[in-house]
Amino acid sequence: MEILIPTPLRAYTAGQGHVQAEGATLSALVADLDRQFPGIRFRMIDEQCRMRPHMRIFLNGKGVFDLTTPLHDGDTVAIVQALSGG
């Protein structure tokens, strides 16, 4: 499926704002992203498998925090960063 990549992470995707990745769950999807773009996962997800502050993942337009959330054909996934602060 197509994944929207936020600008702070596009250094990992050679500038691409949309990339393809696969997975039966959000966790598997992020793992696939990391396989394709090494290092990207740790910038998003910490070593305790928690989404980092200011990092949001939207599944079909709704925010999700549980990485075990299942994915289905036709889902849309957007990785978004709240670029708050100075």
């Binding site: 740790f42 305790q48 990092m55």
Partner: protein, 394 residues
Amino acid sequence: MTLTPLPQSDSTTNALAASDARLLILVATRKGAWLFHGDPARQRWRVDGPHFLGHIVSHVVLDPRDGCTLLAAVSTGHLGPTLFRSTDLGQHWQEARRPPAFTSTTDGSGRAVQQTFWLTPCHANEPGVWYAGTSPQGLFRSEDGGDTWSPCSCINDDPEYRKWMGTAQDGTPDGPKLHSIIVDPRDPAHLYFAMSGGGVHESTDGGRTFTPLLKGLEVVEGFDLDDPTYHDPHCVRMCPSQPDRLYQQNHCGIYRIDRPADTWVRIGRNMPASVGDIGFPMVLHPRDPDTAWVFPMDGSGVWPRTSPDGRPAVWGTRDGGERWQRLDAGLPAEQAWWTVKRQAMCADKLDPVGLYFGTTSGELWASADEGGQWSCIARHLPEIYAVETALLTP
């Protein structure tokens, strides 16, 4: 106050004349890193940067063992922490394949590295080995030049150490930190580190175990002197020319210890009461163990963390802390309310020794005569977090 330059230290065979090497200043800031290449006289500087624009760079260090590998500890306000490496003085950077990270747990008790804060190259006989200190407090080691990192020693998960580390609520405003990782040049198994908060600790077995080294240190009134939790070392340095001597700038004063003694002595009591002995950086002479420099700040009331009275000054001692002298020639005489963070002041190894500091207001200052005269190298940088120097061989 009369401004009398301190006497120059004796040069030794280890001293490098300024004409023998080119100096590099490595500046880490809240918004990126800059490299300043100096001419042999340390009078003109070529700026190279920004590197990692917009990233929080906590520390940039050149590996003195190979003279070409740079490590940079990097994060942003929104992305997780990582490390970058360069083997061509910053022309190209490569991200570490496995940055420092705590051991994963499944019970929710595990911690996450928020920032790699401190980098220390290991012993001269251990090429490619580095230590890193993190926020929250963690000790990590790399054996491949900083490409992959693993938790080091038991302290990251030891229940007693975890108690002493406290929580983010107990730490500094930017988060509790492990810093001042020191490797004894005589023995790579002899290590020290410090934690804000959590005290100073020593290992003689390569980091497998550590023991608190707190005797003689004061804590905030009313707290238990014997509990490392309440100790807040800001910066600890080992004398390069006399590794049994360490100096410490602490939350409660300036201290010195001469091992094997186990008691710190508060040499900061010899500072003028109007200035006090609160501050963050501690800088030592590369060849004279009696010479050290500090940058006092206002630690009164709510802790403004500014130069006392808006009059910034380096203070230096030539006798191990018995007497201190104000060294502010060339610095603003008034209305300068910046200060210097714990990693943002350092010395080079030339003769005479050059001193450098970066300010919270983004200015980089230098003295080519051990603090006798100061000049501003750069202005308008972001808040400066760390300043290091390196000598580049011709």
